[in-house]
């Protein structure tokens, strides 16, 4: 057992680097998602129909397309932050954990990118 004090051991090592970044980003994205998700759910529910033409025309309005892109981006980010914590909490085998975390990064960038591209395609296509 070392006789050095906890303070003595920590001094000079610098911060843990990450700090409160993760926690704070999760809160900020959560707050942003409150109006965005409610707008999306109630816009869809209140549409006269959910057929292809109605939804496409709705999404082609610039405001709707812009909000939908913001929604998909923030949602993918918030989902990434949340699922990362689950992997970190329950997976203790280092190799599986690292591949799991990498997989989550790729999956969320891919999902977010695909969703945003689809909305742009609807907005500017044809």
């Amino acid at each position: 057992m070392s006789l050095r004090s906890p303070l003595g051991r920590a001094l000079g090592l610098g911060s843990a680097k990450a700090g409160t970044r993760h926690w704070w980003s999760q809160r900020v994205s959560a707050v942003a998602l409150v109006p965005l998700t409610l707008w999306f759910v109630f816009s869809l529910v209140l549409l006269p129909g959910l057929d292809h033409e109605t939804v496409r025309v709705w999404l082609q309005f610039p405001v709707n397309g812009f909000l939908a892109i913001t929604l998909v981006a923030v949602m993918a980010y918030h989902s990434y932050l949340g699922t990362v914590v689950i992997v970190e909490d329950y997976i203790h085998t280092e190799a599986i954990k690292i591949f799991g975390l990498l997989g989550l990064q790729f999956l969320h960038v891919l999902a977010g990118g695909a969703g945003i591209f689809a909305i742009l395609h609807i907005a500017f296509g044809r």
Partner: protein
């Protein structure tokens, strides 16, 4: 090697059930479940961009019995996670920590999520009669 029975520190199941325990794990479960929902949403957007036949196929999938069960579960997960998330944000600014407040807000979140889920599906049915 035989291990002598040693005293263990108390684990979860030794404590009397409190609503916060279920609220907490349900927050995580609904979040993880909605991560899958994000993929479904992206699939739906791609189908929408891909043209009417793709979209019709996606909508057929979503309105199948399994699709409707998933969509209902995603709706409930969304409202539960939203309301419980607001509960967490209130805690973050230091509000609602008293025992009575904690329990009341917990039940309020559960009731609110059920009511909101039912309301959304009733509105959906009302505005999109088949």
């Amino acid at each position: 090697m035989s291990v002598r029975a040693r005293p263990l520190s108390p684990y979860l199941d030794i404590y009397r059930w409190r609503i916060g325990m279920s609220m907490s794990i349900l927050h995580r479960l609904t979040g993880a479940f909605m991560a899958i929902g994000l993929l479904a949403l992206v699939y739906w957007l791609i189908a929408l961009a891909n043209g009417a036949p793709s979209y019709a196929r996606a909508m057929a999938l979503f309105s199948s019995p399994a699709g409707l069960i998933l969509l209902s579960a995603w709706t409930f997960s969304f409202f539960y996670h939203l309301l419980n998330g607001l509960r967490h944000l209130l805690w973050d600014v230091g509000l609602g920590f008293e025992r009575a407040e904690r329990n009341a807000s917990g039940w309020l979140v559960i009731a609110g999520a059920i009511v909101a889920t039912a309301a959304v599906w009733m509105l959906l049915w009302h505005f999109n009669r088949p």
